[in-house]
């Protein structure tokens, strides 16, 4: 039953992806600028413009461009069907290569940040719910107002100034590794993993040190909504019939709290999953402040340069990952909540 559900979801995901690809393909061509102009900056003659337009394939009818992009015209070259995302108009590199370099950085940042945020937010949300009006509850209220009212780049710059420049406990915002450190050979693309695979614990520690501030910034921003969500759901769960029954049955306070937490986690997991998908492209400001070179930064650079193949590639990858995250969420839901069936 579960297998059929997963297969059905993946099939629907492919249909969604296809329609998204087509819509994005046409939408970016409605952007109010001509990407060719960027190529001819030093040489804006009519002949050079025509040459650049031909090189980009923009001189062909738009449906031919779409067919080429989708890979339906093998005579024109490879396309999506052949696993080819295209070549960046800014760098001349394969979009797939560039995304494979940027994506692991973002996934590593988000995974570390969400894992840390969960470790902090779930217990705090629980405590706040178990003792409404207590110090933890009041603290959460004040923190949520405080953290949520400022943009993340402002916090990031403040943290850099405080922890790097003033206190000197954090490394300079120069990316995942110091520029003078030789990176481990790329196996997975995740520096923390690759450094361990290469038997270089010093690089692993350095990467964790460099992730410290960006992760702290993200945890600071993300914890607010997660704590609120956990707290609200815990309060609701604690007032539900099954918890009242558990209390009446004389179960320990700890055990009742764990039952309530399990019920509260299902909707909380949903918001965490949505936040994860959103932050794939939305961590751009954090990536920018800490010079991480992740997917968000790549997306912004591509959009500003009207780099159609790169924009299409980023959207395709983010959508595909989001679909997988949502699928995983559904499966986790089923695991947590026995009422869910497929």
């Amino acid at each position: 039953m579960l297998t059929r559900y997963v297969i059905r979801r993946i099939a629907v995901g492919f249909v969604q992806l296809f329609f998204l690809i087509v819509v994005v393909f046409f939408l970016i061509r409605l952007l109010p600028a001509d990407p060719v102009s960027r190529f001819v900056g030093l040489n804006p003659s009519v002949e050079a413009y025509a040459l650049a337009e031909r090189n980009l394939g923009l001189d062909r009818p738009v449906m031919v461009q779409l067919g080429h992009y989708l890979g339906l015209l093998p005579s024109e070259g490879k396309g999506l069907l052949q696993g080819h995302l295209g070549t960046s108009w800014v760098t001349g590199s394969l979009v797939a290569t560039e995304i494979s370099r940027a994506l692991p950085v973002t996934l590593e940042l988000l995974t570390l940040a969400f894992f840390s945020a969960l470790l902090i937010s779930v217990p705090v949300g629980m405590i706040a719910a178990l003792r409404p009006g207590g110090w933890a509850d009041k603290g959460v209220f004040v923190y949520s107002l405080f953290a949520g009212s400022q943009p993340e780049f402002w916090w990031a710059l403040l943290f850099v100034h405080l922890f790097f420049f003033t206190l000197g406990v954090a490394p300079a915002p120069l990316g995942i590794l110091s520029p003078l450190t030789t990176a481990p050979p790329v196996v997975t693309g995740f520096v923390t993993v690759d450094s361990l695979l290469a038997g270089r614990p010093e690089v692993f520690l350095e990467a964790l040190h460099h992730f410290m501030l960006p992760v702290a910034t993200m945890v600071f921003i993300l914890s607010g909504p997660i704590i609120k969500m956990v707290r609200q759901n815990m309060v609701r769960a604690l007032s539900s019939d099954f918890v009242l029954y558990a209390r009446c049955a004389g179960l320990s306070r700890r055990r009742v709290a764990l039952y309530a937490l399990r019920a509260a986690m299902a909707p909380s997991i949903t918001i965490i999953g949505i936040l994860y998908g959103f932050m794939l492209g939305g961590a751009v400001l954090i990536e920018s402040v800490f010079s991480l070179g992740g997917l968000g930064q790549y997306a912004i650079r591509s959009i500003l340069a009207f780099d159609y193949p790169a924009i299409q590639g980023v959207i395709l990858v983010i959508t595909a990952i989001s679909l997988l995250v949502y699928l995983a969420l559904d499966l986790i839901h089923a695991f947590i909540d026995p009422r869910v069936t497929f």
Partner: protein, 555 residues
């Protein structure tokens, strides 16, 4: 516990090693790293890509240098050319042929030696117009090298290199011009005609890509420059190591790490912490904040960067010279120098960078004069701005939104001053690419502030052909649609005038016309600046604004 100790020991060793390595390394923080190293490729117009190219490649010619300026920077002497890969040269006026005697014993990073084949390869590649943006062809065309005409775009048979560039012997090359043109030597100093190493380029070409565009876009650019590419991760870092065989001597700095740090404020704090030794692309306010900081120097030069107001001759009411003059008189130049550039700018009195050969300051000037502007408005039939509301759309002052930090105060100062006079100015920030499209291709920007036009060809004539000659007469980037038959005729004569004194006189005449017609409303020339550690010496300005690491050394 033992494992923890081992990790700590390894970490300590790594830190000590890194510190030792740092003794000769330069950490240079920039807004980006090279997106490509192919000057005929898609990334050629990106300044940080040019920085990569000029440090790995080598020109045939360059300029001699002036003494150090008051801020500690060395500047080029644009009146004196020096051979780089060319040891000596001669010009035969009868045949318009340059004979270049090439330097012998020049070695690239792979040990390959430079010879005439590399020169022929470089020009053949340019003429192939096979890249995304054919800069090599363009510069050869600007320098009037024979047969580098627009025919190559439509006629494939016109693309192979012919007798315009010929090999006399292994170290002698002859290049023929189609007409006398003083821009021949200046274009050969520009990065878009730096020399390739034919051997390695051929080794990295494919049947689909015979001119190795993929390789130079993504991996390396084989040449004979002072540095070799050690590693390159786009969007992240670009590491160079010294070419110990470099013909002008091994570079003093053995390793350069160019690191992308997108936030200028972060570049600033890392420099202040002492971890980086050189940064670029700070805002004027940030450079100003570093003046007097311990251990840090801020060097700058009034080179070729400037700011002007663009008014489109094809859009009403800017087709009216009285309106253009009124606008020019409305601009509070000194206020802009004070609030936007913190004193690091000076009023611009012409249409060409004042440091360029051939620049002339016209007698006609447009100093800030609100009363004069009001009088001109009234004379144009719009007393107090009455009636200008009909042109409200034309008075949207467009600027690049990514430059908000720098241009924001400027456009606010201009719009405030102009509104007081009666112009219905509103602000219109748009993205860089959209701005470029409307400026270069559509040429439909009615009214804009522009701080990004620096002619890389160091010559008033080059600037004239680039910006002010009508498209019908060979103008290339005439963004305001200015057309003046008299100016076109003067330039047509000046372009082929072999006598420099006569040519300069004609360029003076052209610049007087430009000021009289208010083709642009020039505002300021601003200082190109860098901030660096006190112990970094040898900073030199080049017209492409790219730092040559070979110039630098640690004290």
């Amino acid at each position: 516990m033992t494992t923890f100790k081992q990790i700590a020991q390894v970490s300590l060793i790594a830190i000590v090693s890194a510190t030792a390595a740092q003794a000769q390394d330069l950490l240079f923080l920039a807004e980006d790293v090279p997106a490509g190293l192919n000057y005929d490729g898609p990334a050629a117009a990106i300044p940080t890509s040019q920085t990569g190219m000029v440090n790995v490649m080598e020109p045939l010619f360059d300029y001699a240098t002036n003494p150090v300026n008051e801020t500690g920077l060395i500047t080029p002497d644009f009146n004196t050319f020096e051979g780089r890969l060319v040891e000596s040269w001669s010009f035969d006026e009868a045949t318009l042929t340059w004979t270049l005697n090439l330097r012998q014993g020049v070695k690239g990073c792979d040990g390959a030696t430079f010879n005439a084949d590399d020169v022929l390869y470089t020009f053949a590649r340019g003429k192939s117009v096979s890249g995304a943006a054919p800069i090599g062809w363009f510069l050869s065309n600007v320098g009037s090298i024979a047969n580098f005409t627009a025919d190559v775009f439509g006629d494939e048979s016109a693309r192979p290199l012919g007798d315009e560039v010929t090999k006399i012997d292994e170290f002698t090359v002859a290049i023929r011009q189609s007409e006398p043109n003083a821009l021949f030597l200046p274009v050969l100093t520009i990065f878009g005609l730096y020399m390739f190493d034919k051997e390695l380029m051929d080794a990295n070409s494919t049947a689909d890509d015979p001119w190795a565009h993929d390789y130079t876009n993504n991996v390396n650019v084989p040449s004979f420059g002072p540095y070799c590419v050690e590693s390159w991760t786009k969007d992240n870092e670009f590491i160079l190591s010294a070419n110990e065989d470099y013909y002008r001597g091994a570079p003093a700095i053995k390793r350069v790490v160019m690191k992308k740090v997108p936030q200028s404020s972060n570049r600033l704090v890392i420099l202040r912490s002492g971890q980086a030794q050189l940064v670029q692309a700070l805002t004027p306010r940030e450079y100003d904040s570093l003046k007097g900081a311990d251990g840090i120097s801020v060097g700058g030069v009034l080179g070729n960067e400037n700011l002007f107001v663009h008014m489109n001759f094809d859009v009403e009411p800017f087709d009216n010279p009285l309106i253009r003059k009124a606008v020019a008189l409305s601009i509070p130049t000194q206020l802009i120098i004070d609030i936007a550039y913190f004193g690091e700018a000076t009023a611009w009195k012409g249409h060409v960078p004042s440091s360029y050969p051939g620049y002339s300051e016209s007698a006609t000037q447009y100093d800030y004069d609100p009363d004069g502007a009001r009088a001109l408005l009234a004379e144009a039939g719009f007393p107090g701005g009455d009636g200008l509301d009909a042109y409200a759309e034309a008075f949207q002052l467009t600027y690049v939104s990514e430059k908000e930090t720098t241009l924001g105060p400027i456009v606010n100062a201009i719009s405030t001053a102009m509104r007081e006079i009666g112009f219905p100015v509103t602000l219109n920030p748009i993205p860089q690419t959209q701005y470029g499209d409307r400026q270069l291709v559509k040429r439909d920007l009615p009214f804009a502030v522009n701080d990004q036009e620096k002619p890389i060809g160091v010559d008033a004539g080059y600037a004239t052909q680039l910006f002010f000659v009508s498209p019908e007469s060979g103008g290339l980037n005439n963004m305001v649609n200015y057309r003046n038959v008299i100016l076109d005729e003067i330039w047509a004569k000046a372009r082929v005038e072999p006598d420099n004194a006569k040519r300069d006189a004609m360029l003076v005449e052209i610049q007087d016309i430009l000021m009289d017609d208010v083709v642009w409303a020039p505002i300021v020339e601003y200082t190109s600046q860098w901030a660096y550690s006190d112990n970094l010496k040898g900073m030199q300005w080049h017209p492409d604004n790219s730092i040559r690491f070979f110039d630098l050394s640690f004290e």
